[in-house]
């Protein structure tokens, strides 16, 4: 499954970069979302993907009896998802404000700092 995911993640990254290179800022925001998802998946999949063994310690035991999925990348990704949301909300408000000031969706028309 990991090999398959590697290809899928590559596609996600490519799509994200393509969108971020567009001139429309809305597309830039969509690209940002794709990028953060791609990065999360990358970290998650790189640690190895395990079926049906969540990193939980069964009641009454001090450690899981069998091997479980790696909890550390999960913890990393969990915070990353929430932070990506925080960043997205910032970007979205920024886009809103930029639109109100410049009245343009075109990044190339936001080149000058004095508008």
């Amino acid at each position: 499954m990991e090999s398959l995911m590697a290809v899928a993640i590559g596609v996600l990254f490519a799509a994200a970069i393509y969108m971020m290179l567009r001139r429309s800022i809305v597309k830039l925001v969509i690209g940002l979302m794709l990028l953060s998802n791609a990065a999360n998946l990358l970290i998650f999949a790189m640690a190895g993907m395990v079926r049906g063994a969540p990193p939980l310690v069964p009641e009454g035991l001090s450690a899981p009896a069998a091997a479980v999925a790696d909890p550390l990348p999960q913890a990393l990704v969990l915070t990353a998802i929430v932070i990506a949301f925080g960043v997205l909300s910032f970007a979205v408000v920024l886009v809103r404000r930029a639109w109100e000031v410049v009245r343009a969706d075109d990044l190339d028309r936001m080149k000058d700092t004095d508008t």
Binding site: G48, I83, G86
Partner: protein
Amino acid sequence: MQLAILAGFVAAGLAPLLHRWFGAKTPLLMAVLPAAFAVWLATLWPSLADGKSLLLEWAWVPGLDITLTFLIDGLSWLFAMLITVIGALVLVYTGEYLKGERDLPRFLVVITAFMMSMLGLVLADNLVALFVFWELTSITSYLLIGFHHTDPVARKSAQQGLFVTVGGGLALLAGFVMLAQAGDSWSLAVLTERGEQLTGHALYTPLLICVLIGAFTKSAQFPFHFWLPNAMAAPTPVSAYLHSATMVKAGVYLLARLHPALGGTEPWEMTLSLVGAVTMLTGAFLAIRNTNIKKLLAYSTVMALGTLTMLLGIGTEGALIAFVTFLLAHSLYKGALFMVAGILDHETGTKDVTAMGGLWRVMPRTALVACVASLSLAGLPPLLGFIGKELMLTSVLATDHYGGLILLLAFTGAFLTLAVAAIVALKPFFGLRRDTPNTPHESPAGMLVGPALLAVLSLLFGLAPGMLDSLVETTVSGLGVVEPGVHLTLWHGINLPLLLSVASLVLGSLVFRYWDGIRGRLALLDPLIHRGPEHGYEMLMAGMVRFAEWQTRFLQNGYVRNYLVMTLLVLLGLVGHALLVRHPLEIGFSVDAYFHEVVVAGLMIAGALASCVMRSRLAAVAAVGIMGFSIALIFVLFSAPDLAITQLLVETLTVVLLVLVLFRLPRFATLSTPKERWRDLVVAGSFGTLMTLLMLSVLNGDQLSRISDYMVSNSQPLGHGHNIVNVILVDFRALDTLGEMFVLALASIGVHAMLRFHAAEHDASHGLSGRREDHG
């Protein structure tokens, strides 16, 4: 003690509050702090005099071997005593000098913080702690030089002082790291006992260079001397305290402290004695060009710092005794003279000595203090300065490194200093009475008590130098001299140093007599001086600004696309190189997936691609949503319940956000040409391929040992939790999570700020100030 210093920083922060309650009396109140430290230090003296040194241990970052341990021996005791006693006097002086100053609280905050940093610097035993305090003194000095921040000259001088000392600080940090490597310890007390190991180490030369640059910039040695006279833009109490008695001596302190560890070698002795002697001459020579009393004193401080460095370079027992004596003498008379200069400036409204004259009639007490302190500066009996200078000349005569050259430089420095002393003492107070911008009066007692006490000490120690024997002896033994026999006397009999003193008296008097003429002649040298180190500094700064402008224009051209492409290409190049060239690429491709997993992954890819090609905004958002939910499903299928829940919730909230924004924006339009799209497609495609290859090669590579094994097996026993992911978040790696909370908070602040400015602009333009309720 460590707690006391930290409490001192807190007290510094409380100064504005105290000022609200006690008003103009606050400086006097703050003076209690250093005075208390001085008393405490005094109680330690008996045990130090017995040859014991005190090690107050305090762990700071035990994992990195960084401690806040304090080492109190003769050397640090002497410096700490100077810092606290002169500090208390300066604060008392400040009370009068800055009376009615609106920014007095700010001044008190910074100078008290400086005082504590300086104490920490001289007491610290750990190199890292010493460095932290070192940088703190640079920063507080910056704030104090730029105290009158509306004055562009003060700002520029402050910046110059900061750049030079902090630039040296960077070198010092590198030097300290090498020092710790070579000596296997961060502790000064240990390092000073490993002199042979250090001087024989392969890193000795580079670490010596770095440490010396740090010390030389701080102590204004040639060619870094230029920042110190410019620092005179600071209020006078600062000049008296930081830029003569304490901070600039930090470099000298460090050299003295490291003398047993790094000294005794050819490079050390040569560099120190030559740089010191050249600094001496430069300082003395530049001093007599000036008529500004503060600059005169500043350059003579440069000269004194040069003397101290030179004495350390000579490094014999006699030279070290001279070092300690000269250091003490200089701190006493220079502190006093700066305060007198402040009084003159305060009363007459000018700093130009040629514009003053005959002031002894109106301010006799100030004149007396000035004369006593100047006699010590001049090195005339019966003052401590005389003993210091005699000892200095004696040890210079005994040195064999470039003995003749150094003697010449030292002698020239001595008689020029004498001329400076005469100028400072005689020009303002004697001769014809001149009109000055303000009508002078005798200075208030609060301003006179500090300089008077320091002058009296200079005289007292000069008349009865035996009082200092045990102090000098204890200090010198801290410099690595075994069993020093110190016996200071005023009268050494008629010998060569005395004859040299007499000669310098004659020559110095001549210089003073023909000062105006000499100044005129020296003006011819101005073009040369303008091409000196300060010019180099300015060229460097201008070059840096030009470089910054160039690279900003080149890199920050305003097109987001270009930034991205550039970053991506660099990444592609570096990672691609590492992946394909440095390591042979090994890829194992195996498809062991169930049908439903392939479907979910396909759905995810379809969603991502669809979001790129959709022409409708709603469809694009929906496509991103499909991708997000597919990812959540992947998390479900591959044992990450927490992630799946989080992803689902975030996807939902994201849709809300996008719906709120996107439909306020115009529809998608095709803005780029087909050629641009192809170019972007190539960049995006190659980056995607790179990531795929990267991941495949990681999967194929050796599995590194998983740090999470520890977390899995200890989650329940140590973290008392069954959900390992949550235990990592709130316990094992809680500090990271805390940082992430701050990121969230930062994003909120950004959002709020944009909203707030928006509302303010809006209200201003539409006159709707009453309409929006403030939800603060």
